[in-house]
Symmetry: D2
Subunit: 341 residues, 4 copies
Amino acid sequence: MHFASDNIAGVHPKIMDAIIAANDGVAKSYGEDDITGALEAKLADLFETDLAVFPIATGSAANCLALSAVAPPWGAIYCHEHAHIFDDECCGPEFYTGGAKLYTVEAESGRLTADGLRQGLDRFVVGFDHNPQPAAVSLTQCTEYGAVYDLDRIAALSELAHARNCQVHMDGARFANAVARLDCSPAEMTWKAGVDVLSFGATKNGAMAAEAVIFFDPEKARDFIFRRKRAGHLFSKMRYLSAQLLAYVTDDLWLENARHANRTAQRLHDGLSRINSVSFAHPVEANELFVCLPDGAAGRLRADGASFYDMDAVGRNAVRLVTSFATTDAEVDRFINICGG
Amino acid sequence: MHFASDNIAGVHPKIMDAIIAANDGVAKSYGEDDITGALEAKLADLFETDLAVFPIATGSAANCLALSAVAPPWGAIYCHEHAHIFDDECCGPEFYTGGAKLYTVEAESGRLTADGLRQGLDRFVVGFDHNPQPAAVSLTQCTEYGAVYDLDRIAALSELAHARNCQVHMDGARFANAVARLDCSPAEMTWKAGVDVLSFGATKNGAMAAEAVIFFDPEKARDFIFRRKRAGHLFSKMRYLSAQLLAYVTDDLWLENARHANRTAQRLHDGLSRINSVSFAHPVEANELFVCLPDGAAGRLRADGASFYDMDAVGRNAVRLVTSFATTDAEVDRFINICGG
Amino acid sequence: MHFASDNIAGVHPKIMDAIIAANDGVAKSYGEDDITGALEAKLADLFETDLAVFPIATGSAANCLALSAVAPPWGAIYCHEHAHIFDDECCGPEFYTGGAKLYTVEAESGRLTADGLRQGLDRFVVGFDHNPQPAAVSLTQCTEYGAVYDLDRIAALSELAHARNCQVHMDGARFANAVARLDCSPAEMTWKAGVDVLSFGATKNGAMAAEAVIFFDPEKARDFIFRRKRAGHLFSKMRYLSAQLLAYVTDDLWLENARHANRTAQRLHDGLSRINSVSFAHPVEANELFVCLPDGAAGRLRADGASFYDMDAVGRNAVRLVTSFATTDAEVDRFINICGG
Amino acid sequence: MHFASDNIAGVHPKIMDAIIAANDGVAKSYGEDDITGALEAKLADLFETDLAVFPIATGSAANCLALSAVAPPWGAIYCHEHAHIFDDECCGPEFYTGGAKLYTVEAESGRLTADGLRQGLDRFVVGFDHNPQPAAVSLTQCTEYGAVYDLDRIAALSELAHARNCQVHMDGARFANAVARLDCSPAEMTWKAGVDVLSFGATKNGAMAAEAVIFFDPEKARDFIFRRKRAGHLFSKMRYLSAQLLAYVTDDLWLENARHANRTAQRLHDGLSRINSVSFAHPVEANELFVCLPDGAAGRLRADGASFYDMDAVGRNAVRLVTSFATTDAEVDRFINICGG
């Protein structure tokens, strides 16, 4: 009954096999290897467009590097109050951008609202040197509260952003879960809806430590190799990073894993819904649940070995439950049973 | 009828005289001169304690440098949503600190509330490396909305801050106006109330370009000379900077100027209050007024040569009026008359 | 005949086995797992002292993070003109430290000289705010030219550094090769000789992507978790990083690999030495050779599939050859044969 | 006998008069005032071209801001080993650029050599992400050793720089002294010779605290207002800064002051040359002298009230003497007399 995070799960066997297979003889370092080349082609194919791809080992680094490529040191980056980049990266975006300001705007379950963004954009005057300069909007898909932006909202926010010369970043730490939920193409959820740069996450969905920063206009990636290297995020034995990502997007593994996680989250949702005095603080649209448990339930569950985080700020008895590709129906059902008391 | 800002006024004659007097022969550079020495002694006397003093030419620099001395690159600095350091320094604090986050908390007319600060402090977990680390609280006295913290509130906020190992910074761009309002001693409004580091402003109150960063515990200023120099804020001909400040705090000039500005602001307030459909968005406690004018008044005033800023975000027909040491009763009265229509 | 770098070799089978073994069920994230705990204990044992250990995925990141912990933004860090941190990290140390200056001093085959360091230390006046402030010395062991510092020289340089309140950093990208060469203990080559912080490399010697930053005085590591996280170098699935390092230092694997690389380098050296008109630009003391080849040899070797880098700056026909744990005697001998023509 | 620096002199009376004259009534803040407008026009006229002008209060800030506009955080900036930006700005350029590297190349009396620059440019491979990227060349005119680049050398170095897509910065802290020496136009010594951005100094030559950053291609200055403001270098009462500069370039005051300083330096040189065992470590081409004094002379001079700096690194008994617009023939002659014993 491990629902603490999707990052407590291990590496999916197919990805581990790819790592092992990559370990065959010598290979050129720093991304000149064949696997990295194959990955770039594969991702261009998957996203149906030319793109610039940079394998990165952590999600925080992917976000910070991506943001530094779209916002100057005096830029304002719009996000919501509990965005991962705001709360959980220890001022990494400020460090990487050289001082840009994360400005929080209104959101619903982590989804920026158009009004909120508009107010935020209006807040700082373009060209007025006293103010931070509007530079970028960052959307987390799925959001930190387990909600999913629909395509129309992404497009509407992107349109607002572009009208003010701001670029759109998508924090896709759980990108696959959103694509699985929307049943759309990766292209539809990104560049076709106006996204300029994507942190394409894999670690939470079966990889060991692998994300990709993807620019849909390769021209905007011109300086990225220098940003990556000076931050110590260029891997000498890049093949192992690329092998993870290549296996991840081969034969729909990424989607299968995400569908599994979403499905078990839904099963958890459905089971818990039937219990008296259980309520949900946010819609359950992917693999995260924010649940207010009955009194005493959390203690009973932990006594029986369940792991999860308390979310006091969200509500009384609130906890966060996260499923993954490795979550089993059995542990879901057991959790529901114990919870129901 | 010039109410655009207190920085449109010139230099007070006594300060200009001091600058001229300082221009006598050679003097050691970089602060080794006699005037700078005298200033340090004078300020220690004025604040009734040992302190470390650094003359700085601009208020933004004073704030940014001071904050960089009390917050690490991963620190959280608490302020209100319209603090000068948040809105009007073009990401300077983020630049100077190397990436610290300005976190906005609840305030009334720019005065932080204890509840707001407490929530902000609770927001980030000390020692948890994902979160920005609570580091400093910044109070603007007078606030950006013309309100003045009373001594009790400063002490209460400082106590909260210190209990969490946060230091207290006071942005005193209009420090003199607040002291004049409260009729207290500089010591009472700063270190006796828990302030650790002060941006002591003079430019808005009659100086040419002169502020001082003051540490009430000189030990905390240990690295400050390096911060100042690497930022290009160490003046070679420091005597002229120090001469302004020394004249400013001699014979109560600073308080006289501030009292004059406060008094003319009050006169403006009283006169405008008597006009139908005039309202005030914030209390008028020093030299700034946020007034909602009658329909058409702003246009009439500008046609007659009045200068001031619109404040659409504050309310319908809202404008900001700022008085200074140079404001005359005549221009105040004329403004009231035209406004009254 | 692959001598381009030690990072073109794959992952040692024992390390790959450890990665696979680590992939068993769920584990706490961000370093709270058992493997990371075991690693810390193991390294304390290996280095015969209390220490603070931080697994990091790349050598550049390990160096930059370590340096940022020992030098302020206005610090001077002493190194040699071709140190990896100076040439090959794309201004990473400057980025991570927030602006410190790498100051190059005299060296022999990459080993700083005491005179060179002394002159460098004398160059900037402590406490004088115009100058960068002496902060740290960085030694690369083995050096970028394949030479090895003996223990006395490390101790002498450390003494010089400490006498000026500078800390000593060791870039140990090829730490194992140096220990193998000197046949000393890790403790003797580090803290017993005055080293304060070590970048302990494993990637070039059989790991996939794993280094450790090690502080011999844990107190100096106090802020390190924040530095690591804000840079995006905290791995969620840390167990895989730690598993590599744990396997690396178990049963002397690290030393066996290094001894093998050193031995094949020596074999290469001995064979090439017997060829007319071959000369060595630097002593061959570990696993790197800087050789001036006979005219035409480089072309013949490449035509037969050999890989290596040209080093025009080092001398006529100069090339760099690097051996690794995976280098075979057969490829060494074939290289020698073709070279001899 | 005050030869410690040109910054120990006060403000020239004509500049002080301009400051006093500027203090007439209210004026728009932040550079919207008439004096700043007039200054821009005047400088465009003086330099015979369109340009972007930014008044700045200190030379270090002017240099650091200018460099940050021409070099990315991963850039290499070429200068000489004793350039002011390298030695005397406490890592300011690294701070302002966000991490660029100052790379020192060969120079003669502070003048870069073409060979030195070429080697420096060759040192780092363009587009190779491990290396700092060649970005800018910084020339100090006059140099820190009192020498003056002739126009041909500036043009030759600029050509080299531009051929590698590097921009040329001129640190003109003593710009006037060089123009006076070369008897050329400001345009000839700058943009006509390939200079892209200039730190135009006035403080050392009679101003109170005033320099200007001048871009000869205004397009390159696009972001400069944000850089200036976030660094706290935008003055609210800008008129006083601009008034200094405007007076400085009016009626050739800047050149008259410089000619006076150069002439007194030459008088000092000529007189000292006639003394046995006096030698000069660098050519005396402007207002600085690096002299090796006879044994015992320095002590005698100081006993009689002379001020100057020792320059042990330059040679036995070496001192630096600097003249200014305020130096008198009498103090020069007295110095020579005492020195001659």
